[in-house]
């Protein structure tokens, strides 16, 4: 496919970016030191002359020159102690160097993140804070101090359990030196048990439970006798009211009725001005004045 390439001029309309501009990484500790001292980075040659084989080998990688793992013989020095393994010592030194190198790298990253925020870290790395007991590993994964604390708690719990596993729940045992008063006491509230031979208490307790249940469900439980008496009293009261009304209409009118009514109304009204119980008593009294005294109480109840 042919076609000529045209060089485009720089853009005129500026569009917003999708991601923020990449930040410049702050210099690491070595880079700062090198900058101060004027140390320049030099490129290393790919090949290196290997003394043992007498040939040019690559510096890193497969069959590298001066490989530390391939040393067959290490000559003993005067300062060497018998029983020491020089190969193991070399390996241990290497491990130490790698460890310090990694720690230094991590320190550099943390310093960079602290200075300029997490955006300066390389995209494939991330710094995460570790929480105690992270990963669910108790043991190697967790710090030494945390392990010790957990062991101490375990020992304390065990000694307490041992102390209260006597017939008297450790109450009369001698306290050891250094032991604090509450350390060997049983944990939790003291439980009280009812005596086995007391039937009266048991019966009253069962009875109270039954009463409580019935009280809660009293709305649902229908006492037929009570309902019947209530309905009958209501009907009686209504009949009585109707009868009185007819008597009043047929009897004389005017002052007697009015006066009686006014008195009743005033009495009721005056008493209503007081408190609730006083008001109730007042109304009862007024009703008693109006109708039959004997039926007043019941009628009042029914009304209500």
């Amino acid at each position: 496919m042919g076609g000529r390439l045209a060089k485009l001029p720089p853009p005129v309309t500026q569009l917003p970016r999708a991601l923020p501009v990449p930040k410049a990484k702050p210099l690491t500790r070595w880079q700062q030191f090198a900058a101060k001292k004027g140390i320049v980075k030099r490129k290393r040659s790919k090949l290196l002359y290997d003394e043992t084989t007498g040939e040019w080998r690559r510096r890193h990688g497969y069959k590298r020159a001066n490989d530390d793992n391939d040393i067959p013989i290490i000559e003993a020095k005067a300062t060497d102690k018998p029983g020491e393994d020089p190969f193991a010592a070399l390996a241990a030194e290497k491990r130490e160097r790698v460890k310090t190198n990694r720690a230094a790298q991590l320190a550099n990253l943390k310093q960079a993140a602290k200075k300029a925020g997490p955006g300066v870290l390389p995209a494939s790395l991330r710094l995460a804070a570790t929480l105690p007991g992270e990963g669910g590993k108790v043991g190697k994964g967790v710090g030494k101090s945390l392990r010790r604390k957990e062991l101490k708690d375990d020992i304390k719990t065990a000694s307490r359990l041992a102390g209260i596993s006597t017939a008297s729940i450790g109450k009369f045992d001698k306290r050891l030196t250094g032991e604090k008063p509450g350390e060997r006491a049983p944990l939790g509230k003291r439980r009280n048990f009812m005596p086995v031979t007391d039937t009266k208490a048991e019966r009253s307790k069962a009875g109270s439970i039954a009463e409580k249940l019935l009280k809660e469900r009293s709305d649902d439980i229908l006492d037929i006798r009570k309902a019947m008496t209530r309905m009958e009293s209501q009907a009686r009261e209504e009949r009585h009211q109707a009868k009185r009304k007819r008597e009043e209409e047929s009897d004389g009118r005017g002052g007697a009725k009015k006066g009686r009514k006014a008195g009743g109304g005033g009495g009721r009204g005056g008493k209503k001005g007081g408190k609730g119980s006083a008001g109730k008593a007042g109304s009862k009294g007024a009703k008693g004045f109006k109708g039959a005294a004997g039926k007043a109480g019941k009628a009042g109840k029914g009304r209500r």
């Binding site: 076609g3 917003p16 999708a18 943390k110 995209a123 991330r126 570790t130 710090g143 101090s145």
Partner: protein
């Protein structure tokens, strides 16, 4: 890359979390911020209810951006870019799919045939524009006019109407449409690869029309070809509804220009003695199959014409007696 540090972790310490595979590392680096960014990917999705019109618009726009887009097929009811808490789902989807633009289609009684085009900065909602689709003529209705255009080519984008500068909603629409159709930022373009023109016309303060043409170059007498435009793509009339502009601090952050270092010219160095010195790397050549330069006389046509002339001379010579001296040829 192998097992992490053997040093025991202490509470309060920081742990270094690395990518576990090289492929993972490369992927994370590809998603890291860069000085010059890649093409913005678009996320196409539907809201709570859709209509056939909206589905057609979304599918057509998706076809235009296929490789640089991701389309969700299901309806999402908690995606509401214009409500204060409604953008968290959207930000999560865009983050997961590495999309910095989104096109959300929905249809409600209050806002029929609704499209929200929006942008993300650092995968947080930056700005958004809501438009209603008034008229639509899909790609299919234009027949085979669009078959000439190839996916992945950058279109020419044209904005007609001074409303795109004066009205803020239209200016936002211009910016968003440019972002969608832009593709990869390049500094050189192959002229044969320009095969689409996207045109946006501002009809009035709140309506804009989108059209797409496919470009064909015809022969003209001069070196510059004659351009033939045929309408191919969706023809959509939008009416602008709500819009949401970015907060000013975020806008400042997003509009920052990166400091571009000068590109290192490879294989060129300067020497104090020779001045500017360049290096050329030659491929290996085998001497047997080397294509040497040919002499004019050894070319086939020349040999054949010479042979024919010689034969022509021989025949008349045979007819006539030899009277002349040596031939002049």
């Amino acid at each position: 890359m192998q097992a992490e540090d053997a040093t025991p972790l202490v509470p309060g310490q920081t742990k270094l979390v690395k990518a576990k595979t090289r492929r993972g590392k490369r992927y994370l680096e590809s998603r890291a911020p860069k000085a010059i960014e890649d093409a913005k990917r678009v996320l196409f999705l539907y809201g709570n209810q859709t209509s056939q019109v909206i589905k057609d618009v979304i599918t057509d726009l998706y076809q235009l951006k296929r490789l640089e887009a991701q389309k969700f097929t299901r309806k999402n009811e908690n995606v509401r870019p214009f409500e204060p808490g409604g953008e968290t789902s959207l930000e999560f989807y865009c983050n997961r799919n590495n999309c910095s633009l989104f096109v959300l289609g929905s249809h409600t009684k209050k806002r029929p045939h609704n499209i929200v085009i929006g942008r993300m900065f650092d995968f947080h909602l930056y700005d958004a524009l809501e438009m209603g689709v008034e008229e639509l003529k899909g790609i299919r209705d234009f027949g085979a006019a669009g078959t000439g255009a190839q996916l992945g080519n950058k279109p020419c984008v044209l904005f007609v109407g001074e409303k795109f500068e004066s009205v803020p909603a239209m200016a936002l629409a211009k910016s968003l449409l440019l972002d969608i159709f832009r593709g990869e930022p390049v500094d050189k373009i192959n002229l044969a690869g320009i095969d689409r023109v996207v045109m946006a016309v501002a009809m009035d303060d709140s309506r804009l029309q989108l059209r797409q043409y496919s470009v064909r170059f015809k022969k003209s007498g001069t070196r510059i070809p004659r351009v033939a435009l045929t309408e191919m793509g969706p023809r959509i009339v939008f009416s602008v509804r709500r819009y949401r502009l970015p907060p000013s601090d975020l806008q400042q952050e997003a509009m920052k220009l990166p400091k571009l270092g000068k590109k290192k010219e490879k294989n060129v160095s300067s020497d104090s003695l020779a001045g500017k010195v360049g290096r050329i790397y030659m491929p290996k050549q085998s001497m047997d199959t080397l294509g040497l330069s040919k002499y004019k006389g050894t070319k086939r046509e020349r040999r054949e014409s010479a042979r024919e002339a010689a034969e022509a001379r021989k025949r008349p010579k045979a007819a006539q007696p030899v009277t002349e001296g040596p031939s002049t040829e």
